[in-house]
Symmetry: C2
Subunit: 196 residues, 2 copies
């Protein structure tokens, strides 16, 4: 990017992500990103005062990239709410799995940042739970789902009950040959519970 | 321990654990444990050829220490199977939480070892699932639980659905003020599912 073009946040983040991808999260500095953008590091420091701030912003953008397509999926009405919920959950799981396989180093950085940046991850989780809540409300309205529970509380419970399949801390288990089968077991449990 | 006493595996592990606790996992070597036992390091190396082998053995003993009291709990008959299952799960969760609070450094070592020693953790999980399976079988027999599922598959599903509350990777979330409430949500979901 030339010096005379406006330096948008989006342009910085795009450049930062490319530089992080090229040099790896350990070796990338704010100065490297400034160089890639052909701006002074002073200019860049005004936007991102530290390497940590830069990494957080790139991670936040990644989380949005995960949540966006899911939002479209969640807002598509019609069909069984159970099927929609399952499709939504599997899209979330596939999205995380794709990232860990295709870009393990970046995924490692994202995971590390989300452990530190508590507010960011809380907001992301709330975003996802709100999407699921919409699907569950539809299922309650169509009498497919129980109506004695609070839809948001049910969404939260389902999000936590499927932690093993979408939380980055479990990425090392996702290549297991039994992981799909294990998701199936948990999904059946979520749908039907254990009580008669 | 004096040189003329028999060197049992248990005595070595007890000494190793104490030394690890005193010096920390990073600084403890096989030689330190040999010194504490007043034996030559050659003698100790015959039992544990490396620091890794020693750590694994100490971790395996820790996992047994978690599983044993739960086994007693699981084998106590009588009462509602739902209550017994909940009590069992909470005992598992409390046991992990107690370790992370009282001995964070040892807990960190145990967690790191369990990530590497796949067979050891598979065996531990199977041990726990077998215990839960017994409770679920009782619940199916007493018609409290659904009988259309395989009890072991249900136990496995419940173990995975509660991952967030007992898996060491989530220890950083256990001090959250909402964690009990979140367990409650997942527990309700496990009991009743979402379908009518």
């Amino acid at each position: 990017m030339a010096n005379d073009q406006p330096l948008t946040k989006e342009a910085i983040l795009e450049a930062a992500e490319q530089v992080l991808r090229r040099y790896g999260p350990e070796k990338t500095s704010v100065v490297d990103v400034a160089k890639a953008l052909q701006v002074s590091h002073g200019t860049l420091y005004r936007h991102f005062p530290s390497k940590v701030a830069l990494r957080e912003a790139v991670t936040e953008r990644w989380l949005l990239r995960i949540a966006k397509p899911l939002e479209e999926l969640a807002s598509q009405p019609g069909g069984s709410a159970g099927d929609r919920l399952r499709t939504w959950l599997q899209a979330l799981i596939q999205s995380k799995r794709k990232h860990v396989i295709e870009e393990p180093e970046m995924f490692g950085m994202y995971s590390a940042v989300t452990l530190e940046a508590v507010d960011m991850i809380t907001e992301h989780v709330q975003h996802l739970i709100t999407q699921m809540t919409g699907i569950i409300e539809d299922g309650v309205n169509s009498k497919e789902f129980r109506s004695d529970g609070e839809p948001e509380a049910m969404a939260r419970a389902i999000f936590f009950a499927t932690t093993r399949f979408h939380h980055p801390a479990h990425a090392y288990e996702w290549s297991s040959s039994t992981i799909e089968q294990e998701f199936e077991l948990v999904w059946e449990l979520i749908l039907s519970g254990i009580c008669k």
